[in-house]
Symmetry: C2
Subunit: 163 residues, 2 copies
């Protein structure tokens, strides 16, 4: 009852709160509003930055997801080519496989299938270690399954480290 | 000259203006700050909504971009299969092609290669119109190149519309 005269001053307050015994000084309101405004502007800036990062991350994730669906297709084409005779058909399939490998490379997933290179944990997964008197230690001596960029590492056999 | 007394009313005026004869009342400041805060909050809401839409659009665009790189590979595999004999190799390649077509369908790009269906401008592109006494008018009678979802329409021959 005694506070009724002050009710108009609580700009953002709910009607149910008991009104403060004294009306807030207008400078208080101003400082609080300026603070809210500044925080909203800062949040806006944060949201925009987060947005850019998220957009980049989602684009990369989607690219990887779709590109990954190629891998079993490429693996099977290579398997099939293992049984091929040397005719025009096999040549056509081989050219198409090369085209697919190039397409993946252009998307940012280059093929890793080289032997004779030093083992690199970033692109190789060791499936087996074997003695190879002709190869330097810790070298890729056989590729069991090629790798593609960061979609999957190449499965390789590596020469044994000498004691 | 006669309007100078009103300068204090231009709330958003530049600092270069001659100082208003009177300091703005604190209630003016409060109203302006509240307005700025509300606008910042509304902008924040807009930015978030725009963000969600943009994220969805970018994901879809990236998926289409990566999936499109498959199409020449699939086309060339089919071309090569046209020259194939009926051996285990051809069978393997055919199975791999089916696998690739399925992968595209799972990504949201189903293959369109049916004949005998009514022409549908959403999935077909008419390359030629031909007389076909056995087919109803405006029917796909031949598929020259299959289509995949909204990546590309099927290139088709359509039976002539009867007069």
């Amino acid at each position: 009852m005694t506070t009724q005269g002050n009710a108009a001053n609580s700009a953002a307050g709910s009607g149910a709160d008991p009104a403060p015994p004294q009306a807030p000084a207008p400078e208080r309101d101003t400082a609080e509003l300026e603070d809210r405004w500044l925080r909203a502007m800062a949040e806006l800036e944060n949201v925009r930055k987060r947005h850019d990062r998220e957009l980049h991350r989602e684009r990369t994730a989607e690219r990887g997801r779709v590109a990954s669906a190629w891998l079993p297709v490429l693996d099977n084409l290579e398997l099939a080519l293992g049984h091929a005779s040397d005719d025009a058909f096999a040549e056509g399939v081989r050219a198409t496989l090369d085209q697919a490998v190039e397409a993946l490379a252009r998307l940012g997933y280059p093929r890793h299938d080289a032997t004779g290179v030093p083992f690199d944990p970033a692109v190789h997964e060791v499936v087996t270690v074997q003695d190879d008197p002709d190869a330097p230690a810790n070298t890729v001596v056989r590729v069991l399954r090629p790798g593609y960029g960061d979609l999957r590492p190449a499965a390789v056999a590596v020469s044994r480290r000498r004691e």
